[in-house]
Amino acid sequence: MHLFNPLALGFAVIIPLIILLYLLKPRRQEMMVPSTYLWEQVQKDIEASKPWQRLKKNLLLLLQLLAAALLVMALTRPYLPVAQDSARHLVVVLDCSASMAASDISQSRFDEARRVAGKMADQLGPGDCMTLIAMEEKPGILVSASRDRKEIKRLLGELRPNSGSADLEPVLAIVSAMLKNDNNISLLILTDGGVKPLDNQIKLSCPVKVELIGRSSDNLAITTLATRRQGPQVITLARVQNFSNREIQSDIELRAQEMLIDVRTLVMKPGEIRDIIWDELPPGVELVEARLLLQDIYSPDNQAWAVVQVAGKNRALLVTPGNIFMEKALNLNDALDLYRTSPENYLHQNEYYDLYIFDGWLPQQLPQASIIVLNPPASNPFFTINGNKKNIASITASADEPLLRYVDVNGWQMASASNVNLPAGFKSLLQYEQKPLLAAGDYQGQRVALFSFDLHNSNIPLQTGFPILINNLAAWMLPERQDNAGAISGDEYRFAPLANSTEIIVLNPDGKEESFKTPFPPAFSTIKPGPYRFTQVSDDREHSFYVVKNSGNLLESNLKPQNLSWILTKQKPVKSISNREFWPFLAVICLFLLLLEWEVYRRGY
């Protein structure tokens, strides 16, 4: 045993002081009594049983001496050098995916994981620290290399499982990056193993422990609920999967706008997947809900919602002196009603359109809607043009750009293109010698795509990728209609509001309404599973549509704890010597002794 503060031994002087106090006679108060005859006998009695009474009398002294000695010992801060099995920097990864809400363990898997993490925090040595990472769609570092147990426990207490999946790969990337600066890291992953498939398996050079949380896989889930319109008829499909290894029986009910339509009984074999189809729905139904009436260990996936598709089209206006290629490409989109006008007539029209295509011409004021600009004129108030380039043959496309999905730009050529300086918020999709040929972005709150060349001076309209590109652009630019709204995933929902909307009212699954005024947020929170009704209010009308978020999916509904043994390394925890102080224990014993001494004194022993 060693002492951090040996000078505190000086406080040991209180021990002889206590003994001295016992040696001093107490100052007694004089009291007259009728007779000391019996008191004398009482004293004799007490003295007669000397060994017992002396012991009792000394008990106070003993307790006080012991308490004083312990107090002095605590003040010296004694410590014992102990070899630690765990590394000093413990990184705890807590799976916060939806499946952690399963209740096959007391309360839930998440509570168990939280308890284990709290226990690890309690076991931190004086020199140890802990990093806490919440494993979600995007990992969150809650606390980094902290020694504050209280703070760690507070953060753990605030943590809740979300409705999404857990992605292990970015977590491993974070730990891998941490290992570059700190080789004392030991990783503990608290998960049920239900993580997204990894693109790259990252091997870590630190001790890794995976604590699989969860026992059972008894779960019946609605993994899919979808509707399809066949003429006037709406067909609803529910896919139910039994993830457990025993037969499960449950009723499934279908509701349309809260109204019960049908109930069917399912007897599902282990691992069975069954599609249930309903042919008829009452007319005018916008939202359907399927519900399994079974109570299993994971209830969120016992419910699913789907939006019934209804017809509806966006309107687009092509302002051009004549562009047959663009007209043909836009007409391929069934969800679009295309109108055409000339620049001269554009100034006289006052109709509203969801998409404007300006070909070789731009008005002085841009309309409040999505816009495609083809070959902007040299003098325009919106885009700065510095000359042009000719004979462009080798076009480079931005990698992983969703707007260029399925678009093959090989062989695309053009005679000339303007050198456009892109305003802020634009991203170049196609470029030639660092100059943008096609760019897209937000311009004054509108979605705008810019072609810096004339389609007539290129071979692009004749390429197979061209109509695909125009379709991708239109899908990106056009506002969401009810007919293309449907199931969503993730905690955010993004859509392009109608151009003349002044307010968006969101009705959440819990029945709470939230109102948003312009400027609208880029994304709307959709954390809770269930139906969300978005109502766009403009001056003269309201336009509503539903989107739904369902919990059931193959990853989260499969509750069987998945083995992650591939992640384990052969690294052994670094044995380090740490000085384990134990003065708090001494202080607690001292406090206990003082309480005991007080009780002994109170009882008069």
């Binding site: 009728p34 007779s35 000391t36 008191w39 009482v42 004293q43």
Partner: protein, 294 residues
């Protein structure tokens, strides 16, 4: 004393009488049965006539039947000598109300009972020895003298019951009833004195009088206890445990007195100075068999 005994209380006393356990021979005729045969109306026995006997007591009816002379004997009613021993050591001047006040009141009540029953009453004052002694007086007329004597007795000196009671031997003439009122906090003991009273053919009644402060002392902490009689000092750290030991000791001590009295066929009663006098005289003492209904 008059203010202590109001008329109603005295009227209640009138209905009480002293109960002597033994039939004790008195000196004068009185209201109490005597071991001697006498002239009361209560028939006792027959015996043969012998010369010199009073002719008036011959049973002529028996002579008519048997032609033998028989004398008819009747119970003689004689008086009782009641001696009240009052402990007037300084320890008796303690408590609220003081023990001595209660002791004097009880003594006065017994004196009243005795004198109104044509018994003789003597008073002895005990402390270091028999400090004062009022010889036996008889008749209601002596009541004032007895009460005045009791009232004027001062508290002084230590308690030595043995010595005090043995001093009584100088005055004792024949049997009687002795009432000892004391706290019995007598370091020298009490047994020899009480035994001596029994030897003197006294029917002994022991009344132990304690103050509430003695039964449950209101003491706590480090104390220097000073004996109000002797001035002896005891340094005691009074704790709950010590208090319990004291109470246990007091109980043992009182049990000792009680057992001693029962073994010797004495009456014993423990009283508290805080008890109402009426309760003691009209309830406690009659229920202990020390006083009886007329």
């Amino acid at each position: 004393m008059d203010n202590v005994f109001d008329q109603q209380f005295l009227a209640s006393l009138e209905r009480l009488s002293l109960q002597a356990r033994k039939i004790i021979a008195g000196k004068h005729s009185g209201e109490r049965r005597s071991p001697n045969k006498g002239s009361s109306v209560e028939f006792a026995d027959f015996r043969n006539y012998s010369s010199g006997d009073d002719f008036r007591h011959i049973d002529w009816n028996a002579y008519a039947r048997t032609e033998r002379l028989f004398l008819k004997l009747f119970m003689e009613e004689q008086d009782l000598l009641l001696t009240v021993f009052l402990d007037l050591s300084q320890s008796m001047d303690w408590g609220e109300p003081t023990k001595v006040r209660m002791a004097k009141q009880i003594a006065a009540a017994f004196a009243y009972l005795g004198l109104t029953s044509f018994d003789r009453v003597a008073i002895g004052c005990c402390s270091d020895n028999l400090q004062a002694y009022l010889p036996p007086l008889r008749g209601r007329a002596a009541l004032k003298k007895v009460w005045d004597f009791i009232a004027e007795l001062p508290c002084k000196g230590n308690t030595d019951l043995n010595k005090s009671l043995q001093d009584f031997g100088r005055y004792a003439r024949g049997g009687g009833m002795s009432l000892v009122i004391s706290d019995f906090m007598s370091p020298s003991g009490y047994e020899e004195g009480l035994k001596y009273l029994q030897y003197l053919k006294q029917d002994v009644v022991v009344l132990q009088l304690l103050a509430p402060d003695e039964i449950t002392p209101p003491l706590n902490g480090d104390l220097r206890l000073v004996d109000c009689e002797s001035g002896d000092i005891r340094e005691v750290t009074v704790t709950q445990l010590v208090l319990k030991a004291y109470q246990r000791k007091l109980q043992e001590y009182c049990e000792g007195i009680r057992n001693f009295c029962y073994q010797r066929n004495f009456d014993y009663l423990q009283l508290s100075s805080s008890d109402p006098l009426e309760d003691i005289i009209l309830r406690s003492l009659p229920s202990a068999g020390i006083l009886g209904r007329r």
